[in-house]
């Protein structure tokens, strides 16, 4: 019985897939451009069914704020991590509350019910 439970647990864990975003509390610092601040984030993709992630920046009320990055939707292959920079205007610094990444699944990759994952770090 014990062996069956272990085998089932192993089977379940091997099918696990994950999405991670660090740091939890990013710090904004002066960029090389005057009037623009920057922060560096890292995304790790362990979801085999997802290869694209969208970046968003929100204020406290979850309204979108303008930002610049190398790309708004980035490709991160399975088991790969990507470090990306987010540039925000200095005038928006006080409004910035959340920096989020959301999984974007291709239509053909979604099974009957897909899971859209979103992780948000908070700028304090």
């Amino acid at each position: 019985m014990k062996h069956i439970i272990i085998a089932v647990a192993l089977l379940i864990t091997t099918s696990a897939t994950a999405h991670e975003l660090t740091p939890t509390y990013p710090k904004l610092s002066q960029s090389f451009v005057n009037g623009v601040v920057v922060t560096k984030m890292k995304l790790w993709n362990r979801r085999q069914d997802v290869s694209y992630y969208e970046i968003d920046v929100y204020d406290e009320e979850w309204n979108n704020l303008p930002f610049a990055s190398s790309s708004r939707i980035m490709r991160v292959d399975y088991l790969a991590s990507k470090t990306f920079e987010i540039y925000i205007k200095k005038k928006d610094v006080k409004k910035v509350e959340y920096i989020c990444t959301t999984s974007k699944q291709l239509k053909e990759d979604v099974k009957s019910t897909g899971v859209k994952s979103r992780i948000c770090s908070r700028v304090k």
Partner: protein
């Protein structure tokens, strides 16, 4: 003379030798990971109904949240309220759903289910204990009034969010 020089150089060479360590370093920082342990499947228990309940022939999606440090994140899970893929539908859809804790890695998480906050199709859990929590999602949709779903493929998304506090 030559012998002394050889001995001295050997000693100097020996003192220059040192052991090389190959340290493995690690750092546990606060982070949240969202795992899709089981992808859900809709069963079709009656012509006008789709459901993820096992009793209806479905498979409930199971999502795991791992947090490395307590009290840093809130989990927000939304059961579906629209299809992302479906045939053309002419009548109204009635969506219902439920998110529940299905398993935990720590006894301290026992209070999660009682403390959850529900609004619209969203359920929020304050992740106050470090470790893993598994959530199961029930999704049910009925079509019109006893109207049969047209044949075709139906897909919907569960949204799993982890928001820093």
């Amino acid at each position: 003379m030559f012998k002394s020089i050889v001995v001295m150089s050997t000693m100097l060479a020996a003192t220059a030798a040192y052991a090389v360590d190959s340290p493995i370093t690690g750092n546990v920082s606060s982070k949240c990971s969202i795992y899709t342990d089981v992808s859900g499947v809709y069963g079709n228990p009656s012509p006008d109904e789709l459901s993820t309940l096992p009793a209806d022939g479905g498979v409930m999606p199971i999502i795991r949240y791992d947090v490395s440090i307590a009290d840093y994140y809130t989990a927000k899970i939304e059961w579906p309220n629209s299809f992302t893929t479906s045939p053309s539908l002419s009548d109204s859809l009635t969506w219902t759903g439920e998110v529940e804790v299905s398993s935990t890695s720590d006894v301290g998480m026992a209070g999660y289910e009682a403390a959850k906050v529900e609004y619209d199709n969203v359920t929020e859990y304050d992740l106050t204990v470090a470790g893993s929590t598994w959530f199961k999602v029930t999704s049910n949709v009925t079509y019109g009034v006893d109207k049969s779903f047209p044949g075709g493929e139906y897909k919907a998304n569960v949204v799993a969010e982890c928001v820093a506090n």
